[in-house]
């Protein structure tokens, strides 16, 4: 397990600053060697010894699951790279601006040979502070990339006013309140915030509260705790504001934006509702019955898989001392019993979904019916 090569997927719309971030990662004095898989061969200005051109061939798996797509070229390239194992420590996959991150991510769960030798570390999305709002309107890919991200670099912040920045941040959080967000200029970010995230590692899904009140500073403070394997002693007081971003404290401002959409102001960040892509968080303050929950989540992800981009959950199963943790990409679910509930922790069960046209009432109702 330990010697699986970590893979970071770098997405972002054209011109957002992906290549700048990539070169920053490659040239930092970290002593690591990377194999970089780029979307076009011969792309200029990538400062790395091992650069592989990919064709972005998205294949459906012939298993009756329509959203179960993989990147055929990536399977082939990783197979080839493994023949020169030892010459690099990590893999970075840069996708085109128009790419859907899901097939890339799914490749690391669906293909046995790839999964045996590599692990997906995180999906990192670079967004252009000036143009993202426009792209969210006209480019479904841009929305997918934000929704899918574990880490978002809101880049080129020097090109916008503080108000515009708050606006774009609000738009991002309307779609994905769970990603780590870093505001950057020229993709300047501590590389530790981008690499080694273990975002798909069940042992590292510690809490699934939205981040919209966090500044970069609190991100850092949190991450330093996150690197240790003993997480019992720090409280996330700043996270504590209800089960999801649709529930707002009574004191929030409510206003309408230019398109008539509801805007909440909350801690300085505007809150929007995105008509198409949302996150839904549901919580039950107690145990759920695994005999009810497992069939429900399986059926839900089978039926709604195309619309559910990402899902995560931490659950208290009746009669089980350990926390059940799962994460999913479309229809592919990965779950396991993790550490024991600590005495000071309240046994509760939480799920989050990020996806398209999610029926929040139905999700909530279905989940609450699993209560033990």
């Amino acid at each position: 397990m330990a010697d699986k090569l970590p893979v970071t997927v770098l997405t972002g719309y054209l011109g957002a600053g992906k290549t700048t971030l990539l070169n920053r990662i490659l040239t930092e004095p970290h002593g690591m060697k990377f194999a970089v898989i780029v979307n076009e061969f011969g792309e200029i200005g990538i400062d790395n010894e091992l650069v592989v051109g990919a064709d972005e061939e998205v294949f459906e798996m012939n298993n009756g699951c329509i959203c179960c797509t993989v990147r055929g070229d990536l399977i082939r390239i990783i197979e080839g790279l493994m023949k020169r194992k030892g010459k690099f420590d990590a893999i970075i996959v840069e996708t085109t601006g128009l790419a859907d991150p899901a097939p890339v991510a799914q490749t690391f769960f669906v293909d046995q040979d790839v999964a045996a030798k590599t692990r997906l570390d995180a999906v990192v999305t670079v967004a252009d502070a000036k143009w993202l709002i426009d792209r969210l309107k006209d480019a479904p890919e841009a929305k997918n990339q934000i929704a899918f991200a574990d880490v978002i670099l809101l880049n080129k912040t020097d090109l916008v006013t503080p108000d515009e920045l708050a606006e774009v941040e609000g738009r991002i959080r309307a779609i994905n309140p769970y990603a780590k967000l870093h505001k950057t200029q020229r993709a300047e970010v501590d590389i530790a915030q981008v690499l080694g995230r273990n975002a798909f590692d069940l042992d590292r899904i510690l809490e699934i509260e939205p981040h919209f009140l966090e500044s970069d500073e609190s991100d850092h403070a949190h991450d330093h705790h996150g690197h240790s394997h003993d997480h019992g002693d720090h409280a996330h007081g700043h996270h504590d504001h209800g089960p999801g971003h649709h529930d707002h404290a009574a004191g929030d401002h409510i206003e309408k934006d230019a398109h008539g959409r509801t805007v909440h102001r909350h801690g300085g960040v505007k809150h929007y509702h995105d008509e198409e892509m949302q996150s839904v968080a549901v919580r039950h303050p107690g145990d759920v019955d695994p005999e009810k929950f497992m069939p429900w989540i399986n059926e839900l992800t089978q039926a709604e898989g195309p619309n559910i981009l990402r899902s995560k959950g931490i659950l208290a199963f009746k009669g089980e001392d350990r926390r059940f943790v799962f994460q999913g990409v479309h229809m592919i679910l990965d779950g396991d019993l993790q550490r024991e509930w600590r005495p000071e922790e309240t046994r509760e069960s939480k799920l989050v979904f990020i996806g398209r046209h999610l029926d929040e009432a139905r999700l909530r109702e279905g989940f609450l019916a699993c209560a033990a």
Partner: protein
């Protein structure tokens, strides 16, 4: 479990030093293609093997033998032909694009692929190109005539490189990886992303599905009489019967060499119904199809990695093997 009769004392180890991509006998000379771009040639039993830098700037991804020479395809985009004397000849340069598939045959014809382009080069050096609908993953020569099966996404194409005719598409949904043409000429078979094989009868184009594997099949080998196809991808050697018109349809495959490790490479003996099976834990067995008896060639040795290459010499007296972690060896069968 019965004690295996052992041939381990008949194996001479070879230090390959890098992932072994392919093994072949160039005439009598054992040769190994390596992941670090080199080719090892063992010209004499006494002298250390000679190393040829076939791809000095790159890594070898695929290798094939035409019986007398080893052909290698690299991530430097080069197709290189290496002779038993260590001479090298660059056959093609795909401008840095990876060479993903490669086949060669004794008359000197060869074929390779880079991305969607499949190229065939006849014995006279004339090169033809077929642009497949998606990246080419596997190539196989027909037993007679100058014709190739080309595996790609959603099927395989049958291509006559010397004509302008549009290749014949055999459709089957999914991603097809390796391709092989039966020695009888009556079947083409591909290995698939979805842990199984798919085949078509010729010219009837009836589908043949060979499934039930716990892992992908990435190595196949036909028996000398062309009536059996040995396959990797299970915790045993799976050998499909191809005697009748409909191939293995409605018949169960033979299983032998059942172990708690997956078979990664297979190679039929050139003159007998004996199959060499290499496993993911480095073990190698010889299995006789007629009575399922087994002989141990190499005990398991997980740190040496999976067996990645197996080849018999033309006489069937010696067998060469290599592993993912750079171990290799030469088995000489006892005579008499």
């Amino acid at each position: 479990m019965q004690t295996l009769d052992s041939l381990t004392a008949k194996v001479v180890p070879i230090e390959a030093g890098a992932h072994v991509i392919g093994a072949a006998f160039l005439g009598d000379v054992p040769a190994l293609a390596l992941g670090d771009g080199g080719v090892l040639i063992r010209a004499g039993a006494q002298a250390p093997p000679r190393r040829v830098e076939a791809h000095p700037e790159g890594s070898i991804l695929v290798a094939a033998s035409d019986g007398g020479r080893l052909v290698t395809g690299g991530d430097d985009g080069h197709v290189v032909r290496v002779g038993p004397d260590g001479s090298t000849e660059t056959i093609a340069d795909e401008k840095g694009r990876w060479i993903d598939a490669l086949v060669a045959r004794p008359d000197g014809a060869l074929a390779w692929s880079a991305g969607k382009a499949a190229r065939a080069r006849d014995a006279k050096g004339r090169v033809a190109t077929f642009d497949a609908p998606s990246s080419v993953r596997g190539l196989g020569f027909a037993p007679k005539g100058y014709r190739l099966v080309v595996a790609h996404y959603n099927g395989a194409s049958l291509w006559f490189p010397s004509t302008e005719a549009k290749p014949d598409l055999l459709e089957w949904k999914g991603s097809h990886l390796d391709a092989t043409w039966a020695p009888s000429g009556r079947f083409v078979v591909t290995t698939m992303q979805e842990n199984g094989l798919h085949g078509w009868t010729l010219p009837g184009r009836e589908h043949m599905r060979m499934s039930g594997y716990p892992a992908k099949t990435r190595s196949v080998s036909w028996s000398h009489d062309g009536l059996w196809l040995a396959t990797s991808g299970a915790d045993a050697l799976i050998v499909w019967p191809f005697q009748g018109e409909r191939g293995p349809m409605g018949k169960a495959p033979r299983e032998c060499g059942v172990r708690r490790a997956k078979v990664t490479r297979v190679a039929f003996h050139p003159g007998a119904l004996i199959v060499a099976a290499g496993y993911e834990d480095g073990c190698i067995l010889l299995c006789r199809l007629t009575d399922a008896s087994e002989l141990l060639v190499r005990p398991e040795e997980p740190e040496a990695g999976a067996v990645t290459a197996l080849a018999w010499d033309a006489a069937g007296l010696r067998m060469l093997f290599g592993t993912a972690e750079g171990a290799a060896g030469l088995l000489t069968l006892p005579v008499g």
